[in-house]
Protein backbone atom coordinates (compact mmCIF):
# COMPACT_ATOMS: atom_id res chain seq x y z
CA UNK A 1 0.00 0.00 0.00
CA UNK A 2 1.38 3.39 -0.92
CA UNK A 3 2.26 5.82 1.86
CA UNK A 4 0.46 9.08 1.06
CA UNK A 5 2.36 11.06 3.71
CA UNK A 6 5.67 9.98 2.19
CA UNK A 7 4.47 10.55 -1.39
CA UNK A 8 3.15 14.02 -0.50
CA UNK A 9 6.37 15.06 1.17
CA UNK A 10 8.54 13.78 -1.66
CA UNK A 11 6.24 15.63 -4.08
CA UNK A 12 6.85 18.90 -2.18
CA UNK A 13 10.61 18.28 -2.10
CA UNK A 14 10.76 17.39 -5.79
CA UNK A 15 8.74 20.40 -6.90
CA UNK A 16 10.97 22.73 -4.87
CA UNK A 17 14.01 21.24 -6.60
CA UNK A 18 12.43 21.71 -10.03
CA UNK A 19 11.43 25.29 -9.20
CA UNK A 20 14.90 26.06 -7.85
CA UNK A 21 16.57 24.73 -11.01
CA UNK A 22 14.22 26.79 -13.18
CA UNK A 23 14.74 30.01 -11.21
CA UNK A 24 18.49 29.39 -11.15
CA UNK A 25 18.48 29.35 -14.95
CA UNK A 26 16.73 32.73 -15.04
CA UNK A 27 19.09 34.02 -12.32
CA UNK A 28 22.06 33.17 -14.57
CA UNK A 29 20.47 35.10 -17.45
CA UNK A 30 19.63 38.03 -15.16
CA UNK A 31 23.14 38.25 -13.71
CA UNK A 32 24.76 37.89 -17.13
CA UNK A 33 22.62 40.80 -18.32
CA UNK A 34 23.57 42.86 -15.26
CA UNK A 35 27.25 42.02 -15.84
CA UNK A 36 26.96 43.16 -19.44
CA UNK A 37 25.09 46.37 -18.59
CA UNK A 38 27.35 47.34 -15.67
CA UNK A 39 30.53 46.74 -17.71
CA UNK A 40 29.06 48.72 -20.62
CA UNK A 41 28.16 51.55 -18.22
CA UNK A 42 31.67 51.57 -16.76
CA UNK A 43 33.01 51.51 -20.33
CA UNK A 44 31.68 55.05 -20.75
CA UNK A 45 33.91 56.39 -17.95
CA UNK A 46 36.56 58.84 -19.18
CA UNK A 47 40.02 57.32 -19.68
CA UNK A 48 43.51 58.64 -20.26
CA UNK A 49 45.86 56.14 -21.90
CA UNK A 50 43.42 53.36 -20.95
CA UNK A 51 43.42 54.40 -17.28
CA UNK A 52 40.52 55.61 -15.13
CA UNK A 53 41.02 59.21 -14.05
CA UNK A 54 37.86 61.12 -13.14
CA UNK A 55 36.63 60.67 -9.59
CA UNK A 56 33.53 62.76 -10.18
CA UNK A 57 32.42 60.43 -12.97
CA UNK A 58 33.18 57.43 -10.75
CA UNK A 59 30.87 58.80 -8.04
CA UNK A 60 28.12 59.74 -10.50
CA UNK A 61 27.85 56.16 -11.74
CA UNK A 62 26.35 54.81 -8.50
CA UNK A 63 22.64 55.63 -9.10
CA UNK A 64 22.92 54.03 -12.54
CA UNK A 65 24.39 50.84 -11.09
CA UNK A 66 21.55 50.81 -8.57
CA UNK A 67 19.02 51.27 -11.36
CA UNK A 68 20.45 48.38 -13.39
CA UNK A 69 20.37 46.02 -10.41
CA UNK A 70 16.83 47.02 -9.47
CA UNK A 71 15.49 46.75 -12.99
CA UNK A 72 16.91 43.29 -13.64
CA UNK A 73 17.50 41.59 -10.31
CA UNK A 74 14.56 42.88 -8.26
CA UNK A 75 12.19 41.92 -11.06
CA UNK A 76 13.65 38.40 -10.94
CA UNK A 77 13.36 38.32 -7.11
CA UNK A 78 9.73 39.41 -7.36
CA UNK A 79 8.99 36.50 -9.70
CA UNK A 80 10.63 33.97 -7.40
CA UNK A 81 8.73 35.21 -4.38
CA UNK A 82 5.39 35.83 -6.09
CA UNK A 83 5.12 32.84 -8.43
CA UNK A 84 7.42 30.46 -6.58
CA UNK A 85 5.75 30.91 -3.21
CA UNK A 86 2.19 30.95 -4.63
CA UNK A 87 2.78 27.67 -6.41
CA UNK A 88 4.36 26.03 -3.38
CA UNK A 89 1.46 27.23 -1.20
CA UNK A 90 -0.93 25.58 -3.64
CA UNK A 91 1.10 22.38 -3.46
CA UNK A 92 0.91 22.37 0.31
CA UNK A 93 -2.85 22.85 0.14
CA UNK A 94 -3.02 20.01 -2.37
CA UNK A 95 -1.11 17.63 -0.09
CA UNK A 96 -3.27 18.51 2.92
CA UNK A 97 -6.41 17.77 0.90
CA UNK A 98 -4.93 14.55 -0.42
CA UNK A 99 -3.87 13.26 2.99
CA UNK A 100 -7.19 14.36 4.49
CA UNK A 101 -8.00 13.05 7.98
CA UNK A 102 -8.01 16.55 9.46
CA UNK A 103 -10.99 18.96 9.68
CA UNK A 104 -11.84 20.12 6.11
CA UNK A 105 -11.47 23.79 7.11
CA UNK A 106 -7.75 23.23 7.66
CA UNK A 107 -7.24 21.37 4.40
CA UNK A 108 -7.73 24.64 2.54
CA UNK A 109 -5.57 27.75 2.81
CA UNK A 110 -7.18 29.78 5.58
CA UNK A 111 -7.26 33.55 5.96
CA UNK A 112 -4.43 33.22 8.49
CA UNK A 113 -2.40 31.15 5.99
CA UNK A 114 -2.83 33.84 3.34
CA UNK A 115 -1.66 36.54 5.74
CA UNK A 116 1.36 34.38 6.60
CA UNK A 117 2.13 33.84 2.91
CA UNK A 118 2.05 37.58 2.27
CA UNK A 119 4.37 38.22 5.24
CA UNK A 120 6.82 35.55 4.10
CA UNK A 121 6.88 37.02 0.60
CA UNK A 122 7.69 40.43 2.02
CA UNK A 123 10.34 38.98 4.34
CA UNK A 124 12.20 37.03 1.65
CA UNK A 125 11.88 39.79 -0.92
CA UNK A 126 13.62 42.04 1.62
CA UNK A 127 16.46 39.51 1.83
CA UNK A 128 16.83 39.54 -1.94
CA UNK A 129 16.70 43.34 -1.87
CA UNK A 130 19.49 43.48 0.73
CA UNK A 131 21.72 41.67 -1.77
CA UNK A 132 20.87 44.30 -4.37
CA UNK A 133 21.77 47.13 -1.98
CA UNK A 134 24.99 45.43 -0.85
CA UNK A 135 26.17 44.83 -4.39
CA UNK A 136 25.22 48.30 -5.59
CA UNK A 137 27.60 49.53 -2.89
CA UNK A 138 30.34 47.01 -3.69
CA UNK A 139 30.26 47.65 -7.42
CA UNK A 140 30.29 51.43 -6.86
CA UNK A 141 33.25 51.02 -4.51
CA UNK A 142 35.13 49.03 -7.14
CA UNK A 143 34.66 51.84 -9.64
CA UNK A 144 35.71 54.49 -7.11
CA UNK A 145 38.75 52.63 -5.77
CA UNK A 146 40.05 51.76 -9.22
CA UNK A 147 39.63 55.37 -10.35
CA UNK A 148 41.36 56.61 -7.21
CA UNK A 149 44.48 54.59 -8.00
CA UNK A 150 44.21 55.11 -11.76
CA UNK A 151 43.80 51.44 -12.73
CA UNK A 152 43.55 50.20 -16.27
CA UNK A 153 39.94 49.86 -17.37
CA UNK A 154 40.56 46.13 -17.97
CA UNK A 155 41.31 45.68 -14.25
CA UNK A 156 38.03 47.33 -13.26
CA UNK A 157 36.14 45.36 -15.88
CA UNK A 158 37.41 42.05 -14.47
CA UNK A 159 36.60 43.08 -10.88
CA UNK A 160 33.05 44.16 -11.80
CA UNK A 161 32.41 40.92 -13.65
CA UNK A 162 33.69 38.78 -10.79
CA UNK A 163 31.81 40.79 -8.14
CA UNK A 164 28.60 39.91 -9.96
CA UNK A 165 29.25 36.37 -11.13
CA UNK A 166 32.31 35.10 -9.21
CA UNK A 167 34.10 32.31 -11.04
CA UNK A 168 31.22 32.27 -13.50
CA UNK A 169 32.03 35.73 -14.82
CA UNK A 170 32.14 36.12 -18.60
CA UNK A 171 35.51 35.83 -20.19
CA UNK A 172 37.24 36.30 -23.53
CA UNK A 173 39.04 33.03 -22.89
CA UNK A 174 37.05 30.48 -24.87
CA UNK A 175 38.04 27.53 -22.72
CA UNK A 176 37.08 29.30 -19.47
CA UNK A 177 33.77 30.42 -20.99
CA UNK A 178 33.05 26.86 -22.12
CA UNK A 179 33.55 25.63 -18.55
CA UNK A 180 31.32 28.41 -17.15
CA UNK A 181 28.55 27.49 -19.59
CA UNK A 182 28.92 23.80 -18.73
CA UNK A 183 28.61 24.43 -14.98
CA UNK A 184 25.62 26.75 -15.44
CA UNK A 185 23.87 24.22 -17.65
CA UNK A 186 24.43 21.19 -15.44
CA UNK A 187 24.50 22.50 -11.88
CA UNK A 188 21.24 20.75 -11.03
CA UNK A 189 21.85 17.61 -13.08
CA UNK A 190 22.58 14.96 -10.45
CA UNK A 191 24.14 12.57 -12.97
CA UNK A 192 26.75 15.18 -13.93
CA UNK A 193 27.86 16.32 -10.48
CA UNK A 194 31.35 14.84 -10.86
CA UNK A 195 31.94 16.62 -14.18
CA UNK A 196 30.52 19.87 -12.75
CA UNK A 197 32.89 19.66 -9.76
CA UNK A 198 35.80 19.00 -12.11
CA UNK A 199 34.88 22.01 -14.26
CA UNK A 200 34.69 24.20 -11.13
CA UNK A 201 38.10 22.94 -9.97
CA UNK A 202 39.60 23.73 -13.38
CA UNK A 203 38.16 27.26 -13.25
CA UNK A 204 39.64 27.69 -9.80
CA UNK A 205 43.08 26.29 -10.52
CA UNK A 206 43.83 26.89 -14.19
CA UNK A 207 41.99 30.21 -14.43
CA UNK A 208 42.73 31.31 -10.85
CA UNK A 209 39.11 32.02 -10.03
CA UNK A 210 37.98 32.04 -6.43
CA UNK A 211 34.72 30.25 -5.68
CA UNK A 212 34.67 31.38 -2.06
CA UNK A 213 34.83 35.04 -3.10
CA UNK A 214 31.84 37.12 -2.24
CA UNK A 215 29.79 37.62 -5.35
CA UNK A 216 26.20 38.44 -6.12
CA UNK A 217 25.46 35.10 -7.71
CA UNK A 218 26.49 33.20 -4.61
CA UNK A 219 24.28 35.27 -2.30
CA UNK A 220 21.27 35.37 -4.58
CA UNK A 221 21.61 31.61 -5.21
CA UNK A 222 21.75 30.92 -1.49
CA UNK A 223 18.61 32.95 -0.77
CA UNK A 224 16.85 31.29 -3.70
CA UNK A 225 17.74 27.88 -2.30
CA UNK A 226 16.77 28.60 1.28
CA UNK A 227 13.74 30.83 0.68
CA UNK A 228 11.76 28.24 -1.27
CA UNK A 229 12.47 25.54 1.31
CA UNK A 230 11.99 27.70 4.39
CA UNK A 231 8.72 29.03 2.96
CA UNK A 232 7.47 25.46 2.45
CA UNK A 233 8.55 24.50 5.97
CA UNK A 234 7.00 27.56 7.62
CA UNK A 235 3.63 27.31 5.92
CA UNK A 236 3.50 23.58 6.57
CA UNK A 237 4.41 24.13 10.22
CA UNK A 238 1.65 26.69 10.71
CA UNK A 239 -1.04 24.74 8.89
CA UNK A 240 -0.22 21.61 10.83
CA UNK A 241 -0.28 23.44 14.13
CA UNK A 242 -3.74 24.81 13.29
CA UNK A 243 -4.88 21.32 12.31
CA UNK A 244 -3.64 19.87 15.61
CA UNK A 245 -0.95 17.63 14.11
CA UNK A 246 1.80 17.38 16.70
CA UNK A 247 3.96 14.51 15.47
CA UNK A 248 6.49 14.78 12.67
CA UNK A 249 8.39 12.60 10.26
CA UNK A 250 11.56 13.57 8.37
CA UNK A 251 11.93 12.95 4.65
CA UNK A 252 14.45 13.39 1.87
CA UNK A 253 17.28 11.67 0.04
CA UNK A 254 20.54 10.63 1.61
CA UNK A 255 23.34 11.64 -0.74
CA UNK A 256 27.13 11.91 -0.18
CA UNK A 257 26.82 15.53 1.01
CA UNK A 258 23.93 14.84 3.41
CA UNK A 259 24.80 16.06 6.92
CA UNK A 260 25.24 13.40 9.58
CA UNK A 261 22.29 14.71 11.59
CA UNK A 262 19.88 14.54 8.64
CA UNK A 263 21.27 11.13 7.72
CA UNK A 264 20.68 9.89 11.29
CA UNK A 265 17.13 11.20 11.51
CA UNK A 266 16.12 9.86 8.09
CA UNK A 267 17.73 6.47 8.66
CA UNK A 268 16.18 5.95 12.10
CA UNK A 269 19.20 6.33 14.40
CA UNK A 270 17.24 8.65 16.72
CA UNK A 271 13.93 6.81 16.44
CA UNK A 272 11.74 6.97 19.56
CA UNK A 273 8.97 4.81 18.15
CA UNK A 274 8.15 2.65 15.14
CA UNK A 275 7.85 4.48 11.83
CA UNK A 276 10.23 7.33 12.67
CA UNK A 277 7.63 9.55 14.31
CA UNK A 278 8.86 12.29 16.65
CA UNK A 279 7.10 14.77 18.86
CA UNK A 280 8.08 18.40 18.34
CA UNK A 281 9.69 18.45 21.81
CA UNK A 282 11.84 15.44 20.84
CA UNK A 283 13.01 17.20 17.67
CA UNK A 284 13.88 20.33 19.65
CA UNK A 285 15.96 18.21 22.05
CA UNK A 286 17.87 16.45 19.26
CA UNK A 287 18.61 19.74 17.48
CA UNK A 288 19.65 21.68 20.59
CA UNK A 289 21.94 18.88 21.75
CA UNK A 290 23.85 18.63 18.48
CA UNK A 291 25.95 21.03 16.47
CA UNK A 292 27.19 20.72 12.93
CA UNK A 293 28.58 22.73 10.05
CA UNK A 294 25.95 24.84 8.31
CA UNK A 295 23.49 24.66 11.22
CA UNK A 296 21.05 27.57 11.21
CA UNK A 297 19.64 29.07 14.36
CA UNK A 298 15.88 28.96 14.70
CA UNK A 299 13.05 26.46 14.90
CA UNK A 300 14.39 23.04 13.72
CA UNK A 301 11.07 22.35 12.04
CA UNK A 302 11.71 25.32 9.80
CA UNK A 303 15.48 25.53 9.44
CA UNK A 304 15.94 21.72 9.38
CA UNK A 305 19.57 20.72 8.65
CA UNK A 306 20.52 24.34 7.89
CA UNK A 307 21.95 25.95 4.76
CA UNK A 308 21.23 24.01 1.57
CA UNK A 309 19.31 21.32 3.48
CA UNK A 310 16.94 19.55 1.11
CA UNK A 311 15.00 17.60 3.74
CA UNK A 312 11.51 18.45 4.95
CA UNK A 313 9.23 17.50 7.81
CA UNK A 314 5.72 16.20 7.44
CA UNK A 315 3.16 16.47 10.22
CA UNK A 316 1.12 13.47 11.20
CA UNK A 317 -1.25 12.01 13.76
CA UNK A 318 0.14 8.88 15.50
CA UNK A 319 -3.33 7.30 15.12
CA UNK A 320 -2.63 7.12 11.38
CA UNK A 321 -0.01 4.42 12.05
CA UNK A 322 -0.23 0.84 13.30
CA UNK A 323 2.09 -0.66 15.92
CA UNK A 324 4.62 -1.60 13.25
CA UNK A 325 4.80 2.06 12.23
CA UNK A 326 2.95 1.53 8.96
CA UNK A 327 0.54 4.13 7.69
CA UNK A 328 -3.02 2.82 7.81
CA UNK A 329 -5.04 5.73 6.42
Amino acid sequence: MSDIVKDSTLYRIKQIELAEAEYYKTLIKTLDKIEQEVVSLAGRLPLTDGKLIELQAAIAIRPQIKAILEKEYLAWSDTVVRDGFNKQAKRIEKTFKRIGNIPPAFQELTKGDKALIQNLKQQYFTQFKDVSNTFTRRLSEKVYQNTLIGSDFTVLQKELRQTINGIYASSDDLEAQKLVDYVNRNKFNKSKQLQVDKAVQTLQSKFARDRIGENMKRYAGQILNDSLRDFDATLNFNKSKDAGLTYVKYYGDVIPTTRQLCRNVVSGVYNKRQGGLFTIAEVNRIWSGTSWKGKKSGNPLIVRGGYNCRHQWSYVNPDWYNKAGELII
Binding site: Q15, A67, K71, L109, K114, Q122
Partner: protein
Protein backbone atom coordinates in the same frame (compact mmCIF):
# COMPACT_ATOMS: atom_id res chain seq x y z
CA UNK B 1 11.83 55.66 -21.67
CA UNK B 2 14.97 55.86 -19.53
CA UNK B 3 15.96 53.32 -16.95
CA UNK B 4 14.46 55.26 -14.01
CA UNK B 5 11.10 55.60 -15.75
CA UNK B 6 11.11 51.85 -16.33
CA UNK B 7 11.58 51.23 -12.61
CA UNK B 8 8.88 53.72 -11.64
CA UNK B 9 6.52 52.03 -14.05
CA UNK B 10 6.99 48.78 -12.14
CA UNK B 11 5.77 50.02 -8.76
CA UNK B 12 4.17 46.67 -8.03
CA UNK B 13 7.56 44.96 -7.70
CA UNK B 14 7.91 43.75 -4.13
CA UNK B 15 4.30 44.60 -3.24
CA UNK B 16 2.37 41.49 -2.29
CA UNK B 17 -1.27 40.97 -1.38
CA UNK B 18 -3.19 38.17 0.28
CA UNK B 19 -5.35 37.63 -2.80
CA UNK B 20 -2.63 36.43 -5.18
CA UNK B 21 -2.41 32.93 -3.80
CA UNK B 22 -6.11 32.22 -4.34
CA UNK B 23 -5.83 32.28 -8.12
CA UNK B 24 -6.24 28.89 -9.79
CA UNK B 25 -2.97 27.41 -10.88
CA UNK B 26 -3.42 24.93 -13.70
CA UNK B 27 0.23 23.93 -13.54
CA UNK B 28 0.00 22.81 -9.91
CA UNK B 29 -3.42 21.22 -10.52
CA UNK B 30 -1.87 18.98 -13.14
CA UNK B 31 1.13 17.89 -11.08
CA UNK B 32 0.93 14.38 -9.69
CA UNK B 33 1.65 13.52 -6.09
Amino acid sequence: MNIFDEIDAKSEVGEFTQDEVVAEDQEVEQEEI
